[in-house]
Structures are given as C-alpha cells and as structure tokens.
C-alpha cells in the first residue's frame, strides 16, 4: 500500500467516524465510566466514555492508578538495586524489562559481555515474550466472550514460567541480569526441557488458531474494528506488534539488536497490512510461534564460556548519557540513563511501550460501539504497570 493511498484511507476512516457520530439519531449524551477496577482493563485503567446511544463520541483514558514513581525511585537507588524495581514495570515479561537498562549501563561502562551471557539473555528475553504474549492470546478470547482460551493460556504459560524459574529462581521477577553478564549459568538438563516446552507452546498456538481464527464471532468482532493507519501509529509512537499490524515493517530485534544475538538467527518479522484488531491478534500469534523457533535455534547454537565479565564489586558507572531500547513483548522499551559517575543513576527516563500504545485510544475510539471499546483495549494489549510506571 503506497503512502498516499494509506493517507487517503486514514482520511476516509476519520471522516466516517465523524459522520457516524454526528448524523445518526441524536440522543441525549451519556457518560459511561469503565474502571478503574474492571476485568477488561487488565488492572486499573479507567476509561471515561461519552456516549451517543450505543456509540462512543469521545473516550478518555485516566491513568495513574498504578503510578509508583519509578523514575524518582531510580534516582535514589544504586544500579543493581534499580533492576529489582524495573522488573515490576511489565510484570508479565519481567526479564525483558531488565535487559535494556543493563545494556545502557554496560554501554556507559564499556563492558563487553561474554558471548554465552548474550545468548542466554536472548533466550530468556524470548521466554519472557512467550510468557507475556501467551496470556494476551488467551485473554483476548475472554474479552470477546470465549472463556476457553484463557484456561489454555494459563495452563501452557506455566510451562514457560517453570523454565524461567529453573534458571532464575523467580517465576515472575527474576532479577537475574547483571551489569557484565548474568548471575548464573543454566542448570543441568534445562536445554532439553526447554525444547519440549517450545513444542508445547507451538501446540498452544495451533490450538488457539483452531479456536479463534475463522471463528465467526471472533472475526466479526475484530475485523475492521479499531483500524489504526500507519501514519497515525507512527505519530503516536506505537511500537511492537501494534505498529507491525499497521503494516510498518520495523522490529528493533532485527534493525538494532544492540547487544542481543538476534542478528545471528534465522527468523522473520511478521506484518499485517490491515491495522485492525484482528491484525494485531494475528501478528502476535505469529510472533509467538516465531519466538519458539528462535529459542530452539539459540538452544542449538549456545556457545560455551563464562557468563559474567569482570566488573568491579561496587559498580560505579562513568558519567555520560545512553539510550538503549529493545523490542519488548509489549513494544519498544527504552531507558535513557544519565550518569554522573555515582553509585546510582542521576536520571532514568523510562520509555515504556504501553504508554505510547494506549495514547492512541482517544483517536481510535471515536465513533466505535461500546463493545468495540473492549476489543480495542484488548487488542492494543497493555500492562498497567507499563503505562503508569
């Protein structure tokens, strides 16, 4: 699709949304409050929607119910202590939160990570992607009224969590990444077990594909719902599968791997031209399957050697500024670290994916029906901790 055609389509979509809202039977407006505690909001997002009959005239998300002040707290903690905190930003894929921060600190310290550590990092990164997206794949079914997928998701997600726990000791918050490498090596027998889990996860993807793709209700409720054209997605800073579902072929893992080993793997970036809720679900499903293949390749090619570079016992990061972003399960997550040569960072700006991803909701929810609000929220896929930080 050329740019002009895309822009044209965006214009038509926006005009249609305005027309639908204004011309049809004008009823007395109503304000609907969804949240802050609502099953569809994955936590504590609150949406204030002004309705005209069954249609949303304006929707405004209210955040902050989960704001914990990470950026301020990071300023009063040492570098190793910060990783404990930032685990809890996106609590479904915790390990992935640590990686960009550690990479930024390593850039400033000019530490070279041993190859084995980089590979294991990438394996755990992809495992946390599986643990994260698996829940989305099931949860989206629940939001649309299909209860079965979420049971499948919780069941199969446990296998991935078991593998993460076997390495790191934590199901949720591993705190395993260190400046200069990893805390420990893989346990014995872990590689073979993980291969088995990858097969299970692929079966899980197939099951969900059977259950939901082609399901009439699922397609009717997702196709054409919540279309985000590429230029809107770019100007709102959407990232991850949300951006790729709008047809932008961009993945930090391929374009800027930044210390992780994605450039040595054989894999594919999935995109979808439609930009609707179905496309976002489809892209994430493909990515989950792709991630299992990537993990298998990495298990095959895992180099030997130490997992920790020589770093001082007390970590002081030289003065400087670094920004490192990685392709986290939810999208691009970056840390802008400003150091002044102290034990802790001077300022950490956390660029979290969900904050940008959800900022498009006022635009995309104009003119949709009330049930579509839930579909759009579910398909944009956010974690509250990742919005509010």
């Amino acid at each position: 699709m050329s740019v002009t055609e895309r822009e044209q389509r965006a214009f038509i979509a926006a005009a249609a949304a305005d027309a639908r809202v204004n011309v049809e039977l004008e009823t007395e407006g109503m304000t609907l409050n969804i949240g802050p505690q609502h099953p569809a909001t994955h936590g504590t997002l609150r949406i204030i929607a002004r309705l005209d009959g069954e249609q949303v005239v304006a929707a405004e998300p209210v955040m902050g119910y989960m704001h914990r002040g990470y950026e301020k707290l990071a300023e009063v903690r040492t570098y190793p202590q910060v990783t404990t905190l930032i685990n809890r930003i996106d609590w479904l894929g915790s390990f992935a939160n640590e990686v960009p921060f550690i990479l930024a600190a390593e850039q400033l310290m000019e530490v070279e990570v041993p190859p084995r550590a980089a590979w294991i990092r990438t394996i755990l990164f992809e495992l946390s992607r599986l643990a994260n997206i698996a829940l989305f794949l099931g949860d989206m079914g629940v939001q649309l009224g299909a209860l079965t997928p979420v049971f499948f998701a919780f069941r199969d997600r446990e296998f991935v969590l078991n593998q993460i726990e076997a390495v790191t000791g934590g199901r949720f918050h591993p705190n395993f990444d260190r400046i200069g490498g990893l805390k420990d090596d893989l346990p014995k027998g872990w590689i073979e077990e993980t291969r088995g889990v990858m097969v299970k996860m692929r079966t899980f993807c197939d099951e969900l594909e059977d259950l939901l793709m082609g399901n009439e209700i699922f397609e009717a409720r997702t196709r054409g719902v919540g279309v985000i054209p590429a230029d809107i997605a770019l100007s709102y800073g959407l990232s991850g599968a949300n951006l790729r579902a709008s047809g932008v072929d961009w993945d930090m893992r391929r374009d800027n791997p930044c210390g992780l080993v994605y450039d040595q793997l054989d894999w594919k970036v999935w995109t979808h031209p439609d930009g609707d809720s179905f496309a976002r679900y489809w892209v994430r499903l493909q990515e989950t399957r792709e991630a299992t293949y990537m993990v298998e390749q990495m298990l095959d090619g895992l180099p030997a050697g130490p997992v920790m570079a020589k770093v001082p016992v007390i970590i002081k990061v030289p003065a400087g500024e670094a920004y490192v972003a990685t392709e986290n399960p939810l999208g691009v997550m970056g840390y802008y670290v400003v150091s002044k040569g102290d034990l802790g960072p001077f300022r950490v700006k956390i660029r979290s994916a969900s904050f940008n991803n959800i900022s498009v909701t006022p635009w995309v929810m104009r003119g949709v029906y009330v049930p579509d609000v839930i579909t759009i929220l579910a398909s944009l896929y956010f974690i509250l901790g990742d919005i509010d930080r």
Binding site: P39, G43, Y65, M66, L73, E158, H173, G385
Partner: protein
C-alpha cells in the same frame, strides 16, 4: 439473623453456620498489579484450581462477595475506590492482603505516590507476604482464613488479630 447479631446463638448452630460460610466464600478479585496475575493463576488456572477449596472467584460486583483479595500496589489515587467498593460488600466480610505492596508498600516503601499498606484504610484478615507470592501461598492464606471462619465467634468478628501466612 437477629439471633446471630445478639450473640446468643447455640454453639452447634454457630458451627453449622460457619461450615456453610467457610465452603462458599465468594471472592472478589481486586487485582492491581503483578500479584493480580498470580491471583489469576491461583483462581483461574487448572493447575491451582481454587474451587476445590470451596472458593468461588466469580462475583462481578463486591456486593455479592464475602471476601476480597487486594493484590498489588495500592496508590493514593486508588484508595478512595477501594474504600468505596469495600463499603459496598455485605457483612460478614473478609480481606486478604496479597503481596508486599498491599501489606506495607513493598519495594515502593519510599515512593511519593504509593500507599504504604492497605491496612491503613480497611481491616485486613490475612496477610500473604511475597513479591509476588506464589499461587500456593495465596491458597494457604485462604485455607488459614477458612480455619478462622470455622472457629469464629460471630460476635467477636472484628476482635481477632490478623493472620500472617508463613
């Protein structure tokens, strides 16, 4: 129910009533943060299967619930909502505080926006420590709460000390 409130109920009847309450705990899931996922794993996943304990995790509204599990970080912005929904629950009501954040602020003990402990605003029956606690820990908390309900003197409902798992 006047009999219960007057505190003059015969002991065998109290016991019977307590067994009934113990095995039909309707729990409202107040999932806030990371702990919400572990709570979801405990309540929603086939592996942990909370319903075998007689706990029904389905009420869509606190007005139908006997027990609320507050799991996750409570912020000052969230406190009014929690208080409001707690007040909507019918008596006798129980509260499980799950996770370090709900217990005492946890890793955000020095934050400017986090409430340091849910017990500042509502009475808590069981504290489940951990960051986040494993689903098994939450199940143990529920079992301890059930023991407490089984031996409960209805009139002394609010006099007991909170239970700490672990």
């Amino acid at each position: 129910m006047g009999l219960v409130e007057s505190g003059k109920m015969p002991a065998p009847l109290t016991k019977l009533l307590n067994i009934g309450r113990k095995y039909s705990l309707w729990v409202y899931q107040w999932g806030l943060a990371c702990c919400a996922i572990e709570m979801g794993a405990a309540f929603g996943s086939p592996r942990y299967d909370v319903m075998r304990l007689g706990v029904i995790p389905f009420p869509a509204s606190p007005r139908q619930a006997d027990l609320v599990v507050v799991s996750g970080t409570v912020t000052d912005k969230m406190v009014p909502s929690i208080l409001r929904l707690y007040e909507q629950m019918p008596d006798p009501k129980y509260v499980i505080s799950m996770g370090s954040c709900a217990n005492c602020g946890g890793p955000y003990w020095d934050s400017y926006s986090v409430t340091k402990g849910i017990d500042q605003i509502i009475p808590v029956d069981v504290y489940v420590p951990g960051c986040p606690p494993r689903p098994e820990a939450l199940l143990e908390g529920i079992v301890l709460l059930q023991e407490r309900i089984a031996n409960e003197d209805m009139t002394a409902r609010w006099k007991g000390d909170p239970i700490v798992v672990g």
